[in-house]
């Protein structure tokens, strides 16, 4: 009876602490469980201030200074937190038109964002406009499927970054939407677009096998879902493996809760997107243990 109870509780909560005699015998077998929190925004579009109280859809919602309060509260709860943005930081209020994105980047730096990917609107003042604002961003920009080699951004954008939180290696890589037809050529210039799915497969393999990441997060500005063949987060999820979480943007999708999709080998992968304009922040909590279950496919997902 006692043993049965034990199995149930580990299966449910993954708690390996308190294994008792078994734990004492095996030298370091029962390593302590870990808790990593991922916070994310997308398509904030220069919405630094909250919406007016009389706004039809989002009265009084949003605002960078309130978002920061919430972020700080969550960091106090769990210091092992990553804060990410899925692009389209720029464009949407006069703050962008007057300051070119300077204030957006400065505020995100003060809030201690860990990384962001690039959205199509982040090219709105041209690739030179983005470069000019980069010194205000104290966090890396991450994208793996744009080749910037023949542009002013050469060497400034990383395909991925590995973060370590409480000893857990978290690989974050970025993918962006096809710019042709969406952004004027004179703005993106010689930026080359590569297929995000092929890129993701290569990078994920590298993150898992070489970088030994225990969590892999895709920061995407592809869009949640399309009726046609256009690559989306849903398509990316279904065509790849070993990704735990896709944080999306571009389609300004409000999801009632994160989507649990199935990847190429039938394992679960989470997709989340939180609308736009900073009216929401997404929160994903990963509870990890060393019970040997293989990534998100074996985890209990509670959304």
């Amino acid at each position: 009876m006692e043993r049965r109870k034990f199995i149930q509780s580990t299966a449910a909560a993954g708690a390996l602490a308190g294994i008792g005699s078994l734990g004492l015998l095996s030298f370091t077998a029962a390593k302590k469980p870990k808790h990593i929190t991922i916070l994310h925004t997308n398509d904030v579009h220069s919405h630094i201030e909250p919406f007016d109280n009389g706004h039809a859809q989002y009265p009084g919602m949003g605002g960078a200074a309130r978002r920061y309060t919430l972020i700080n509260q969550i960091r106090q709860e769990n210091p092992h937190t990553l804060l990410l943005d899925a692009g389209d930081i720029f464009q949407g209020t006069p703050y962008f038109n007057y300051y070119g994105g300077e204030l957006e980047f400065k505020l995100m730096s003060k809030m201690r964002y860990d990384a962001a990917t690039i959205g199509n609107h982040d090219f709105d003042n041209g690739i030179d406009g983005l470069l000019a604002q980069l010194p205000h961003a104290k966090f890396p920009f991450i994208n793996a499927n744009y080749n910037f080699d023949n542009t002013v951004l050469e060497g400034r954008i990383k395909p991925y970054q590995v973060f370590v939180r409480d000893g857990i290696k978290i690989g974050v890589f970025g993918v962006g939407i096809e710019l042709k037809g969406l952004v004027a050529k004179k703005h993106y210039k010689e930026t080359e677009y590569h297929n995000p799915i092929d890129t993701a497969k290569t990078i994920v393999k590298q993150l898992r096998e070489e970088e030994k990441c225990e969590l892999v997060i895709c920061l995407s500005h592809l869009g949640y879902e399309y009726r046609d063949d256009k690559v989306s987060d849903q398509k990316l999820a279904a065509a790849t493996k070993d990704i735990d979480l896709i944080i999306g943007g571009h389609t300004h999708t409000f999801l009632p809760k994160p989507t649990v999709a199935l990847n190429a080998i039938g394992e679960k992968v989470l997709i989340n997107q939180v609308g736009w304009a900073g009216v929401n922040i997404g929160r994903i909590d990963f509870y990890l243990d060393s019970s040997g279950k293989k990534n998100g496919g074996g985890a209990a997902i509670i959304v």
């Binding site: 990963f286 997902i301 959304v303």
Partner: protein, 250 residues
């Protein structure tokens, strides 16, 4: 003794396996940034000077408008759309003419690009930002008469009050063309027309595929929002009206 050894092997195996942390449980949710969350003071204070500067700029009065303008006040053309199209031809043509020696014949924007109404009273910089929040620029496309004919059919098929200037298009009840004139003259298939629009539409946005047939395009490096601001500044009072440029005979 044997049993003990086996147990050690097992635990050693488990140990190796245990090097990898994997997610056992994942929880996801969305948190709303609601008005009852207090603003972080240091961030708020940092924003203040930027905010004050912008508010000062935004409240600058540029012109006076005696009545409300809304893009839903007409079926095939609207006063606000006509204002935008007329402003575009009036302020862009001198620049275009100086650069190329040619003149703009037609203006076509998209209905969806009118992002806000304008309330009667003082028209401010903020009004221009609300109507045109995007960074789109004026471009002039050289289109053959055949492509302009496609454009006319696009207007007819969409049945939408896309802002136009320089053309007169009247439809019969059955949507057949009663009259079409460009700069007061009949459309000639072989002639070249200079059509002013924005860079988004030039690249085929809103399914305006006829723009992809442009023989040439000139970017005037003039943001439509700035053009509107300049236009408002130049006028003391705005009084745009709905007219006969695109109508259906009832």
């Amino acid at each position: 003794m044997k049993r003990y050894l086996l147990f050690l092997l097992l635990t050693a195996g488990a140990c190796k396996f245990n090097d990898n942390y994997t997610p056992a449980r994942i929880e996801g949710k969305q948190l709303e940034i609601t008005p009852d969350i207090p603003a972080n003071d240091s961030l708020e204070n940092f924003i203040t000077p930027y905010k004050e500067h912008i508010n000062k700029e935004m409240e600058e009065v540029l012109a006076y408008l005696p009545y409300n303008l809304s893009k839903s006040d007409g079926r095939y053309n609207t006063a606000i759309g006509n204002l935008m199209a007329d402003a575009l031809i009036e302020l862009s043509n001198p620049i275009f003419n100086k650069r190329t020696g040619e003149n703009i014949d037609i203006v076509l924007l998209n209905y969806g690009g009118i992002r806000s109404s304008i309330a009667k009273g003082d028209v401010t910089t903020r009004s221009a930002f609300q109507v045109m929040p995007f960074e789109n620029e004026v471009v002039v496309a050289a289109l053959k008469g055949e492509a302009v004919r496609e454009m006319i059919h696009y207007l007819i098929d969409s049945g939408t009050a896309h802002p136009v200037a320089g053309i007169e298009l009247q439809l019969e009840k059955d949507n057949s063309i009663k009259k079409v004139l460009i700069q007061g003259k009949p459309l000639e298939d072989s002639a070249t027309y200079y059509v002013a629009t924005n860079d988004y539409l030039l690249e085929g946005g809103d399914s305006m595929n006829f723009f992809l047939k442009a023989e040439e395009a000139t970017n005037l490096d003039y943001k439509i929002r700035n053009l509107l601001i300049d236009y408002f500044k130049a006028k003391d009072t705005l009084n745009p009206v709905r007219d006969q440029r695109f109508i259906k005979v009832e």
